[in-house]
């Protein structure tokens, strides 16, 4: 009896302690959370693309919290709106790091916005995860590039078009919006095509302004260029809103994908959602992820997304997958380092490997780029892409293009002895210069 009584007392006191712990837990968490910055435009021209990424990040943070947070602490998202205004990106980044003391920032879409925040991140020593395909020619200690470098998108896409499956294309139109990403990508592609033996007169390069809407002249020029008796294809780096009128004009002027296919690097499920895709069936896009990819991870991701956004018509896209990979990598690196201190996390990031949504693993390389598969898809009548080609293995992001004279000798390795983003192997010195 006595023994029993003592057991009961022990149990009682234990439960009191437990209850006390439970009660103190939320109080402790409230002033001890890990803050994560989200730097995506919620207004202005880029809101169309970037708002989705903000929502995707909120979903990922919610899910991580449901799993118990990180290092025993809850994650807290800090959302700011840089309003598609490039200098404002730098100001908001500074605000996130200095005022809100975030542990890492996920953000930016256009290359100009990324370039505008770079000095802030290196000065205040924080981490930026950049989720969009870009032109390469950059590798910064504080930035992790989870989108595709040109060799993870543009080069395999052109290879596909040159192959027999892609139609053995001999004549090329490089059509782009006039800013840094299309210009650099087209420079790389031009050098690559010439290295493959394409004559200069078989390449036509054309640029249009942001938000261009009257494509009549350009489309008829493409038609004219395509009537030289050689198989012709368009490689499009046309960005954002300008794509919808471009595809409408293609459809109206009767350019079919079987005759002149358009391979796009900036058109995803999101852009097609605003379009009647029936006349576009067969036009192509190169990405590292398609919503139509049939894997259990992707099915779960789409279901979670629909539940989170409360709309089962909303599509998923490649930059969302990039944030998914980037966020999970960061979580893993923080767990590995045991702290959110940016210096330790940056070192811990290299070599971290997490599942991607296309049925494999993506790994962070020493050049702060990741490994991904490259998928080529054809537009279907339902606005989705059907994968028609997939690289056999994973492709490692190559930051300094091998096809540009200024950058072919440069490499990047942020591991201890070298710790350099632009090491020139020809001169053996750190600090080489790329093309931009």
């Amino acid at each position: 009896m006595r023994g029993n009584f003592s057991t009961i007392t022990k149990m009682f006191s234990a439960s009191v302690v437990a209850a006390g712990l439970l009660m103190s837990a939320p109080a402790k968490a409230a002033d001890d959370t890990i803050k994560v910055g989200i730097l995506h435009s919620l207004s202005g021209t880029m809101a169309i693309s970037e708002t989705t990424l903000k929502d995707a990040m909120l979903m990922l943070i919610d899910e991580q919290n449901a799993k118990g947070g990180l290092l025993g602490k809850k994650l807290e998202a800090v959302v700011v709106d840089p309003a598609s205004n490039w200098p404002l990106f730098a100001e908001k980044a500074r605000e996130l790091i200095s005022k809100d003391k975030v542990a890492a920032v996920f953000g930016c879409w256009t290359s100009v916005s990324r370039k505008s925040v770079l000095p802030v991140f290196s000065e205040l020593d924080n981490i930026l995860f950049y989720p969009v395909q870009y032109e390469g020619e950059e590798s910064e200690r504080n930035v992790f590039y989870t989108g595709a470098a040109p060799n993870q998108q543009a080069i395999p896409a052109v290879d596909y078009l040159m192959s027999e499956d892609g139609g053995s294309v001999k004549r090329w139109v490089l059509e782009g919006t006039d800013y840094v990403y299309p210009r650099t990508t087209n420079k790389i592609l031009e050098a690559y095509l010439k290295a493959k033996g394409v004559a200069a007169e078989d390449i036509m390069v054309n640029y249009t302004p942001f938000g261009f809407s009257d494509w009549q002249t350009e489309v008829s020029a493409i038609k004219k260029f395509g009537s030289a008796g050689k198989k012709t294809a368009v490689v499009s780096t046309v960005n954002g809103d300008a794509n919808v009128p471009f595809y409408k004009e293609l459809g109206n002027q009767g350019i079919k994908a079987e005759d002149i296919p358009v391979m796009a690097f900036s058109v995803g499920e999101e852009e097609l959602a605003g379009l009647d895709t029936a006349p576009l069936v067969g036009h192509l896009a190169a990405w590292n992820y398609f919503e139509s990819v049939d894997t259990p991870e992707n099915k779960k991701f789409i279901a979670d997304w629909h539940k989170f956004i409360k709309n089962d018509k909303r599509t998923t896209n490649d930059p969302m997958e990039a944030h998914y990979i980037g966020f999970n990598m960061w979580v893993k690196a923080v767990e590995k380092a045991g702290t959110t201190d940016p210096d330790k996390v940056i070192d811990a990031m290299i070599g971290v490997s997490v599942p991607n949504l296309t049925g494999g693993y993506s790994t962070m390389m020493p050049n702060h780029h990741i490994t991904k598969p490259v998928l080529i898809g054809e537009i279907q009548a339902d606005g989705q892409f059907e994968t028609v080609s997939r690289t056999p293995g994973l492709v490692m992001g190559d930051e300094w293009s091998d096809y540009l004279p200024d950058s072919k000798d440069l490499i990047s390795d942020w591991r201890a002895p070298l710790s350099c983003g632009n090491f020139n192997v020809a001169t053996g010195k750190c600090g080489g210069k790329g093309t931009n």
């Binding site: 809101a47 169309i48 009257d214």
Partner: protein, 538 residues
């Protein structure tokens, strides 16, 4: 003549017997079953070739289904079916007869994938098979396909088809397709020269494309003939190119006119620097979207009428918002242009963000009714229907507006208030109401411009942004306060822009136009058609 007909009939009969005896249904099913095991595009392509080689018109159904991505393999028994998606399930039917054979869940069947190369192979195969189709449009499509993909083996079937053809225009196309096939065959040079002449007479880009490859692959007389024919076609095409630039310019001009015409009232007539003008256009486009959504869900048959239904609604929505803005903000700011500019700029941001919150930041799909899709040819000039209708629409709106301003009592009051407000008020005109209604009219017209622009541009909250600068440019260039100035301004800017674009590129072209306008305004600060008289000084 009778003799020809007899020969033709015999051939037709022969063809019919040949095709019916070509292969039994079991053979066809055997080949179709191979789709289930074919791996990769090249193997599927091989099966397509095998099917097409049989030459039985019955293979048209499975091949067309394959090209449209509607051919499936059932996982349990590896049987091939044609299918039609219906939600989460697929309605299956027999690939040859088209008889319904139940339905299957999407997970239980695999779609046979096609890519562009395969689609082209199928299109070519169907081209040969559909030469004898009843519908002339199908025969024209077949002739067109065969012209673009010439093959020496096509000459025989084409000869038969030409002999049977009764429609002259289709016959001409078939003969051109035959000529194209002759050029890639090993027929004597005399035949080829005749073919070059025939194709040269066709005179379009496809002919140039074909002749260029002939020029590269043949010798002597044929090569020279091809070179001469290409030069000939190119000189005619250069003429058409100029015509095309003018048409593109007119079309761009009509878009500028539509965007600017509402502003010609609010800014031109009333003198309000209305930065929220673009958002009125955007509201019109979103009204179209909402109308189409309702039609899609409730009255799918009315889809072709959606734009007509949207027009009055868009006018009302934008006019109402315009009225609220005038009564709520602008009326306190008359005569203070800087404050008006900032206030309307703020209103435009509010409207954008409101639409973004309600509809989301992404583009909304506004469909083109069937009469707004596709294009037709005038000579070598391809004119797209949507651009043509927008031109007609812009001119109609302009004419109606001109009538309202010049011929109605309301227009008279509007002009009186603009010319001399105090005098008009003394005459008993309620100037505040005239102001409000004029602003509402300008906004409403911007709204119906939005209906038209939704057909060629993105429907997103940023829609208005793209047009505001151009609209002001047109109104200032044309002359503030003059509707005719807006018309002439819009079309001249459109045409100059489109003539510069092929030479200077779109980016530089736009810069050159801006520089030209700056120079022009230096010379004539009041624009093309300046208002004269006391009103200007007021």
């Amino acid at each position: 003549m009778n003799l020809f007909r007899a020969i033709g009939l015999t051939l037709l009969f022969l063809l019919a017997t040949l095709s019916s005896s070509g292969a039994s249904e079991a053979d066809l099913r055997g080949i179709i079953a191979k789709f289930a095991t074919a791996k990769g595009f090249s193997e599927i392509g091989a099966v397509v070739h095998e099917l097409a080689a049989i030459g039985d018109p019955a293979v048209e159904r499975p091949l067309a289904a394959l090209a449209d991505g509607n051919l499936y393999v059932r996982k349990v028994d590896s049987l091939v079916f044609a299918g039609k998606e219906a939600g989460e399930t697929v309605q299956l039917s027999d690939p040859l007869s088209g008889e319904a054979s139940g339905e299957a869940a999407k997970d239980d069947i695999t779609k046979i994938k096609v890519n562009n190369t395969l689609r082209r192979v199928i299109r070519d195969a169907l081209g040969t098979l559909t030469l004898g189709a009843k519908d002339p449009a199908v025969r024209i499509a077949a002739a067109d396909t065969m012209f673009k993909t010439p093959d020496a083996a096509n000459i025989g079937p084409l000869d038969t088809a030409i002999a049977n053809e009764s429609v002259a225009s289709v016959k001409a196309l078939l003969e051109q397709a035959r000529a194209a096939s002759v050029l890639v065959s090993d027929r004597p040079d005399a035949d080829k020269l005749a073919a070059v002449a025939l194709i040269g007479a066709r005179g379009d880009r496809d002919a140039v494309s074909l002749l260029t490859s002939v020029e590269a692959n043949s010798a002597d007389a044929v090569k020279q003939a091809a070179t001469a024919a290409i030069a000939n076609i190119n000189s005619t095409l250069a003429f058409w190119d100029a015509g095309q630039n003018i048409w593109y310019g007119i079309s761009l001009g009509s878009v500028l006119l539509l965007a600017a015409i509402g502003l010609a009232i609010t800014f031109g007539v009333m003198g309000v620097i209305n930065m929220a003008h673009g958002e009125m256009v955007m509201l019109g486009a979103y009204t179209t979207f909402v109308v189409q959504q309702v039609i899609r869900t409730s009255f799918p048959d009315l889809f072709d009428w959606s734009l007509v239904i949207a027009l009055p609604l868009a006018f009302l929505v934008s006019a109402l918002v315009g009225l609220i803005i005038e009564r709520g903000v602008i009326r306190f700011l008359y005569g203070r242009p800087l404050e008006t500019l900032l206030a309307t700029w703020g209103v435009s941001l509010i409207l954008q963000q409101a639409v973004r919150s309600i509809f989301g930041p992404t583009n909304q799909e506004v469909g083109n009714p069937s009469w707004m899709s596709g294009s037709f040819n005038v000579g070598q000039l391809a004119i797209t229907w949507n651009r043509l209708w927008i031109l007609v629409f812009a001119l109609t709106v302009f004419a109606v507006l001109l009538y309202v301003m010049k011929r109605t009592p309301w227009g008279l009051q509007m002009r009186a208030v603009t010319a001399n407000r105090r005098m008009a008020a003394s005459m008993g005109i309620r100037t505040p109401w005239v102001d409000a209604l004029t602003f509402a009219l300008g906004s409403g017209i911007a709204g119906i411009a939005g209906v038209a622009l939704s057909q060629i541009d993105n429907v997103s909250p940023n829609l208005g942004r793209g047009y505001i600068i151009d609209s002001f440019m047109v109104v200032v260039f044309g002359g503030v306060g003059n509707l005719w100035g807006t018309l002439v301004g819009a079309f001249s800017l459109g045409i100059v822009n489109k003539f510069l674009e092929p030479y200077a590129g779109a980016v530089l072209g736009k810069i050159v136009v801006l520089v030209l306008i700056i120079l022009f305004i230096q010379k004539r600060p009041r624009g093309l058609f300046a208002l004269k008289g006391r009103a200007v000084e007021a």
